[in-house]
């Protein structure tokens, strides 16, 4: 149980980068960007392809990020220059990327031009590169000893992945926090808020939308590249429903941790991504559920995350009103009492 949860936390932190990307488009730019389903695989496929061809995994991950950035920019161009509705622009790019991803992965194939999946079983990844450095530090055995002495039977084999991803994701969060407060960042936020206003302050909303979508999908592709290396497998179907997972993370995080400031929201989104993975892992442990049911479960989680806050809000409102009414009645009663008291005295 502990190791299963541990694994979902590790994955959650990697998916959190994707969720931050979805937050940028969905909340900041107010652009429901479905490119994510495609660009996630673009990241995973590009990284896996380059690693199989023998490139350095860090370089492969960076190139994957750039590939995602370009994909996002394309969606932005379709929307701003082609005047295509945001949802449709995203869907068109998503479907185009399906073929492009097959081609990208095909670059590593000896026999054909396309390839639906790439295993990375014995390949060097960012995690194995970092792992060899990490193992020399001897921190794992120290933590394991502490946990064993606390009476835990099964312990995770390494803490390296968790620590590495915590650092990487925290850095990305801080960069996003900083970026959204720069002059360009403020202009992007205003673009999502009030396009007419920001245009009247000499900002080119088209470029800002394209840039925002690029950055967002770059982050999504980075997340995909890391997931492929973490699971040692890239598949063309990896991204199906990824936008919903991203939305679930954003919505769960915001519902639990609030939206007071940007620093708070980016933290909430990361936490939301981890919580989503944990719910997912718990659901998988239910006996009569099959792993094929997971997309349905994802949809249900998002629906619940959207609906429950409304119900809670209504319930609280009702309670507050009832309380106010009670106070009012009590006050009236007190007045009547005082009057009667006065009469009886007289």
């Amino acid at each position: 149980m502990f190791t299963a949860m541990f694994g979902s936390v590790e994955q959650g932190i990697i998916y959190a980068i994707m969720a931050l990307g979805v937050y940028l488009t969905f909340r900041v730019l107010d652009f429901p960007d479905l490119t994510v389903d495609g660009s996630f695989v673009t990241g995973a496929g590009t990284a896996a392809m380059m690693i199989v061809l023998g490139y350095n995994p860090i370089l492969a991950t960076l190139v994957a990020t750039v590939a995602g950035f370009i994909a996002g920019c394309m969606t932005g161009i379709l929307h701003t220059k082609g005047k295509i509705n945001p949802l449709l622009a995203g869907i068109l790019m998503m479907i185009a990327l399906y073929s492009i991803n097959l081609r990208i992965m095909g670059l590593s194939s000896d026999t054909g031009v396309t390839r639906p999946n790439i295993p990375l079983l014995n390949s060097e990844t960012v995690f194995s590169t970092f792992g060899s450095f990490w193992n020399n530090l001897g921190i794992d055995s120290a933590i394991t000893n502490v946990l064993k002495s606390m009476g835990l039977a099964s312990v995770p084999t390494t803490w390296g992945v968790l620590i590495l991803m915590l650092v990487v994701t925290t850095i990305i969060k801080l960069v996003v926090d900083w970026f959204l407060k720069t002059e360009i960042g403020l202009a992007i936020r205003a673009t999502g808020d009030n396009k007419r206003m920001i245009r009247s302050f000499s900002a080119n909303t088209d470029s800002l939308v394209i840039l925002g979508l690029g950055i967002s999908n770059g982050m999504v592709a980075l997340s995909g590249a890391l997931i492929a290396q973490y699971t040692k497998f890239a598949d063309v179907g990896l991204g199906i429903g990824m936008i919903v997972v991203g939305l679930a993370s954003v919505i769960i995080g915001e519902a639990i941790f609030g939206t007071k400031s940007i620093v708070r929201v980016t933290f909430a989104v990361i936490a939301g991504a981890i919580i989503y993975r944990m719910i997912y892992a718990l659901a998988l442990r239910v006996k009569w559920l099959d792993s094929g049911d997971m997309k349905l479960i994802t949809a249900v989680i998002v629906i619940l995350a959207l609906v429950i806050p409304q119900i809670v809000g209504k319930y609280k409102e009702k309670k507050r009103k009832a309380k106010r009414l009670e106070e009012r009645l009590a006050l009236q009663q007190a007045k009547v009492d005082i009057e009667q008291g006065g009469k009886s005295l007289a």
Partner: protein
């Protein structure tokens, strides 16, 4: 300063809904001019404003600011020279962003936006002193979200944001029309103060004839896409509402038919 030359615009050309919105408009503004524009609904006042701001491009004719031809320049590029306040108090500010962030956006109007912080210590001080001019105590609410402000407060903030980089041209499009009378009066007063302080060249559309007479040094009246009356500095001071109505009847040979224009 601002020069409109032979501007024409037809909407829905070639359809039964065809409408001549602007018919050969010529208008020259000298630096520091404050021109008020009146006219009934559909006279072409807002269309003319949109021509200047770049939201619409003329079918023919040209728009010049400071001797530069801006006719084909997109809205966002012209906005470097043009400050605007809209009729809708919600239109001029970003509601989910704070007061200081909104001001920071306005502040970088005429510079290239970069990766430096939008709000830093120095700018915050400047924002504070600028907000004090509004006398709405907004200087102590810098980190409040603009969506929480009232319509009047938002419009005052919009006005400050539109003016504080001292644009070459200030466009006010019925910017007090959506406010209650006391708030409208406050915004009118602020408009006067801010425009006079920086000697901004200003165009103001209004439905309120009294406001059109009180503010500015020139007045123009529009009807059916044309400028039908121009009143210069010399005559404007003594002009009254009955004078204006009389002028309209003389020119058009009919009574003014907009109730809003009458009562405003």
């Amino acid at each position: 300063m601002l020069k409109l030359d032979g501007i024409n615009k037809v909407f829905n050309e070639g359809t039964p809904d065809e409408k001549i919105a602007l018919d050969n408009i010529n208008l020259h503004l000298a630096p520091g001019d404050f021109v008020t524009i009146i006219g009934s609904n559909g006279a072409g006042k807002s269309t003319m404003m949109n021509m200047i701001s770049g939201a619409l491009t003329p079918d023919f004719g040209s728009v010049e600011i400071n001797g530069n031809d801006l006719t084909r320049l997109p809205e966002y590029k012209r906005a470097v020279h043009i400050g605007r306040v809209f009729q809708d108090p919600m239109a001029g500010t970003a509601p989910t962003m704070t007061i200081e962030e909104n001001l920071a956006i306005a502040y970088s109007r005429n510079t290239k936006r970069s990766l430096r912080f939008g709000v830093d210590k120095k700018r915050r001080e400047f924002f504070k002193t600028s907000l004090e001019k509004l006398h709405l105590n907004l200087e102590n609410r810098l980190s409040a979200k603009v969506g929480l402000l009232s319509g009047g407060e938002r419009q005052a903030l919009s006005l400050l944001m539109a003016t504080f980089t001292k644009p070459a041209i200030l466009l006010l499009d019925e910017h007090t029309a959506a406010l209650d009378p006391s708030r409208a009066e406050l915004i009118t007063k602020l408009t006067k103060e801010l425009v006079e302080e920086s000697r901004l060249t200003t165009l103001m559309v209004t439905h309120n004839m009294q406001q059109a007479l009180d503010l500015g040094n020139r007045l123009i009246m529009m009807d059916k896409g044309q400028i039908i009356l121009e009143v210069g500095e010399d005559r404007k001071q003594d002009l009254t509402i009955p004078d204006l109505m009389h002028e309209f009847e003389q020119i058009r040979g009919e009574k003014m038919n907009s109730d809003r224009a009458l009562l405003g």
